[in-house]
Symmetry: C2
Subunit: 406 residues, 2 copies
């Protein structure tokens, strides 16, 4: 018996033991996953919650087809953006009335950044002219930040996350940061950076796409100013499901949206020529909400019933720890280079591995039923959704990676 197969047997046994002891293991039944697949791409598109197909069928055939226009009231369509926002709120540490669902992440980023720039301008310090943005962030954040800066008169300043504290100062108006970097999986220090930005006199805007649903965020507790996130990754809302916007309670009355659509009006059905913004997070609404996708998301959020985000975080760290251990056991040293930080305090719910033939390896992995994704130019990215990924999945993924990279 070779060393590899010995360690393989031993790690398989460990995986079985870990799965047996996993209190979240039964949550997998709340999802429909294809047979024989290890799905480690929930940080790109979350798996299908079992309750979604039936709910969507009912929305289409009964609520739309039979009740027709009456469903805006009778089926609760009109209030869905704030109702579903309140459902997401506890997962990101927000009280009710602070999160509203709708539009894409990019559109919400625009609202948040322009809104933050206006809040900053309202403080009357004309010397605050800079919008700082994480230079390594998901590109849409940079593109939208550039547009928001251009349209509010701010200067865009790209900064490496490590250099951010030193870049803060009397010119800082707004700072946009990613809680977890989409490529490396690095978790940034949201409490510390938010406090630093605010101590420098700026407003802190966070993009939660790669953290919400995978780890505690604590928006209210850490006094984040504004935040956005998507719902199709760890929240399993479905492809392109609507994003959300968080507005801290202390900013809601002064939040001045650049997209004041009729849904954000205090009395939308008065159809009045003058715009009067609604109170609360509803002010972040824009146009008519996309009901099919939004109610699919609402059904998807039912998988969180009775689940604590702290337990999810504990399992996420155990999964990524175990994956790194299995990779170290199954692959020769140096074959792949972990990009994701080893320290728990700096690790999201993914593991990124760098190697020159990453593109080919991911194709081979997918052909063998292990689905992660490739990020240009040389990164294998594996996301671990604790609600439906188990330790045996993790062991198998690393073992198959060992085979295809051998």
């Amino acid at each position: 018996m070779s060393e590899t197969s010995f360690s393989s047997t031993s790690l398989s046994i460990r995986a079985a033991e870990l799965d047996a002891a996993d209190e979240l293991g039964k949550l997998r039944e709340r999802f429909r996953l294809p047979e024989g697949v290890v799905y480690l791409d929930g940080n790109s598109l979350g798996a299908l919650p079992a309750g979604v197909p039936g709910r969507v069928a009912d929305v289409v055939s009964r609520e739309w087809g039979e009740l027709l226009i009456r469903s805006w009231d009778e089926s609760g369509w009109w209030t869905a953006p704030e109702r579903i926002g309140d459902r997401i709120a506890p997962l990101v540490g927000a009280a009710p009335g602070r999160v509203v669902v709708g539009d894409s992440t990019s559109v919400n980023l625009f609202k948040a950044l322009v809104g933050a720039a206006r809040l900053a301008a309202g403080r009357g310090d004309a010397g605050r002219t800079e919008l700082l943005v994480d230079a390594t962030t998901f590109p849409t954040d940079g593109y939208i930040a550039q547009s928001a800066a251009r349209m509010t008169g701010l200067t865009l300043v790209p900064v490496e996350p490590a250099d951010l504290p030193a870049a803060l100062g009397p010119r800082t108006a707004v700072v946009l940061m990613n809680h977890v970097d989409y490529r490396s999986g690095r978790l940034h220090d949201l409490p510390g950076l938010t406090a630093a930005v605010q101590a420098a006199g700026g407003l802190a805007v966070w993009d939660l796409c790669h953290s919400a649903g995978a780890l505690p965020v604590g928006l209210d507790e850490h006094r984040v100013d504004l935040a956005v996130g998507c719902t199709y990754k760890y929240l399993n809302g479905g492809p392109g499901s609507p994003a959300y916007l968080y507005i801290a309670e202390r900013h809601q009355d002064a939040f001045d949206s650049p997209l004041p659509g009729w849904n954000s009006h205090a009395e939308p059905f008065a159809m009045a020529p003058g715009y009067v913004p609604a109170e609360g997070a509803v002010r972040g609404r824009v146009g008519t909400p996309d009901i099919l996708s939004m109610l699919a998301l609402e059904a998807a959020l039912e998988v969180w019933e009775g689940v604590s985000i702290e337990a999810v975080r504990a399992k996420s760290l155990a999964l990524t720890d175990f994956f790194l251990e299995c990779v170290a056991a199954y692959l020769p040293a140096g074959r792949v280079e972990p990009v994701t930080p080893a320290g728990h305090a700096e690790r999201g719910s993914q593991v990124a591995l760098r190697c020159p033939d990453a593109k080919r390896l991911m194709t081979e992995l997918i052909a063998r039923g292990v689905i992660g994704d490739f990020r240009h130019p040389d990164v294998l990215r594996f996301g671990f959704t604790p609600l439906y990924v188990g330790f045996a999945d993790v062991e198998r993924a690393a073992r198959v990676l060992g085979h295809v990279s051998g």
Copy 2:
């Protein structure tokens, strides 16, 4: 036999004859409509096309649930915004590559108006400082125009549609108009007003929410600059289904979106820090497209197979003519006042009737299975979707209105 019942019999016979001769009558089979209902609110939420429930179920259970992330390529999700745009294009008189689907109407209005303001600025005439907007338009248009004006340095000038030609001049940068007024049902002269705006040196932006799918628009033919529209009214895409943006071919290379999300990048998966816009209408994309709603819309558009928009327009005018005739026969003179113009050239696909007790009357109509809607403060609004509304429906609606208003 009273005069009313005599005329009722006569109009019922006329309705049956008109339905028998209606070449579009068989299209009703392409929809699922509740039994016993006359649905005259398709200008608010179109009815459910029969092919949608099955298609949505397949998207949810197979494309999302089984294929998961692979569906972005294999199921054609990624290219859906431009593919569905090309499907809508012939209905609004546009060539392929000029329409892109996604986001709400309000968000597309913002893109179109800021884009138009930048095109205007690019012409180098600093004296063009005004954004003119129809003062009677759907409120979101006015609110978004106000925001676009504020963020581009233009001055918003609300104008009554009748006063628009006189308001045009050397200060005109951009003009936003509604093709059909949402309240009165008045059809504006798109070719004539577009030409007048352009003759004055401005750019013409049209909101097609209440015309697309009900009558020919001719965007390319009439050299419209930019246009937006929703898809949940006469295009039957479902509640809050994604809207669309039209960019005239001559403006595409210079179109400069205020929402340059990663989906509008020339190479979105390069995830490059610098923004380089894609070519064509794709430049109007923003974030990840909302796939469930978008593919429901795509399935809904199949009802247009073999249908000409000219035939739809002819039937629409016949339906509204017949409705006005029935209302005149069944209600005492002066009981309701038609707000929609009598002339075909000025009439959309709806009839608005004003009366002081409109709110109560609409409640009673709906209780009797005749669904229209009420618009504050005193308007009964009836929309006529020629694909599924017949002449017997029209006669019944007017007859029931006669009863409840008697």
